[in-house]
Symmetry: C5
Subunit: 104 residues, 5 copies
């Protein structure tokens, strides 16, 4: 899995029938910066992920990809290759807390 | 999943028997630009995707990859690793609509 | 899937038993050039793909990867992650034919 | 699989139900340096991996990705695409030991 | 699949139970050089692959990745995402033999 930040959303009316009613969020991967591990470095790509946990814009989430995304609650038969499988409370690197969710 | 723009098509007469009659579209991934999130940045690679939704050239679509592509309607047993699973109506980033389909 | 050009072949006598007698072709991915979409840009990587369609050196082919490659005719139980699933007749980008196979 | 170094951890209270109680470690891939194979070169990305072996911060581990991660002990039905499947004792390159775990 | 060169090995005593007794080799991917296709260009990453064919250090091998690696002889239930599925005898590019194993 990897960290990502919810930066927006996507609306698609005409889509695979099995995805009807699913919330589609735009997520940018966030990596621990090799130069300064107390910070995150945004990835250059963006992912459309299915959300089943009620993630909000700006939140840091955990993403699963590929067939693993389909193991998330209720996604078994869907043509989805990216799902938000966790909302992040804290990230600790080298023994120090480098991220804490505002509402946690 | 990720965003892509349909830029063309491919014809292959001699192909895996199970793919007979399938429409093969050439798609370029489109990423939310890290510099200016109101714009998209074209990816450097191009993908041949199976289309089951009637996507047209120039349209922004949602792609699924790998085994997840085979979960799309009618693709279960096909040797396909990329499928168009949605036509995009709107994309919103940071609360602002950054894309709206012409015919939506 | 993606486009590739057959650039050579590989011989492996000692290989997984299930792959006995299979033709192994060396393929270089070909991408639609973002600068000039009427041309292809060779990828920097090279792939060994199983061929079940009789592709020849120099031919443009369609490749499937990962578990999807195993869905191709006769490859279900093989440890193969890349297969040639189509020979390309034509590629059209932006309404113009940018590739046509010699013998098509 | 590939080598990785445990650099931290992640806490996620609200996550896919099946992942409850699982330890989530932040891991940076470590590659054998092409310039000097006696050293490792940190990857630029970071991965959240499930740990079932009790890996500690700073340890060198072996990671499996994708559906293969779900084959690890007890992870069959989880939406996880990365798992620590081994703790590294030694790495030998070109006949020389280039890494030895402190407690091995 | 892709070409790789065995550059070393890894020892892991504490690992997923199903991997007990398996030989773990460190492999660097080898690509056909786009500049000079008679040569190989080492990849920048390194992979830990399960070996079931008795590959030796310095040998050129064929690797399978992802779920395909688990289709190799005896690896069905293992958490492995990379396996050596062939030892390379010869590679031919553009009609010329560019590699021949010493003992072939």
């Amino acid at each position: 899995m990897y960290l990502g930040k919810v930066i927006g959303s996507v609306v698609s009316t005409k889509k695979d029938e099995s995805m009807r009613g699913r919330k589609l969020l735009m997520v940018r991967p966030m990596l621990v910066d090799p130069e300064d591990p107390s910070k995150f470095k945004p990835g250059s790509n963006t992912i459309i992920a299915i959300d089943t946990l009620g993630a909000g814009e700006g939140e840091l989430v955990m993403l699963a990809q590929g067939s693993s995304a389909r193991q998330a609650e209720g996604l078994k038969q869907l043509p989805v290759d990216a799902a938000i499988v966790g909302l992040i409370d804290t990230v600790s690197i080298g023994g120090k807390k480098t991220y804490e969710a505002k509402n946690s």
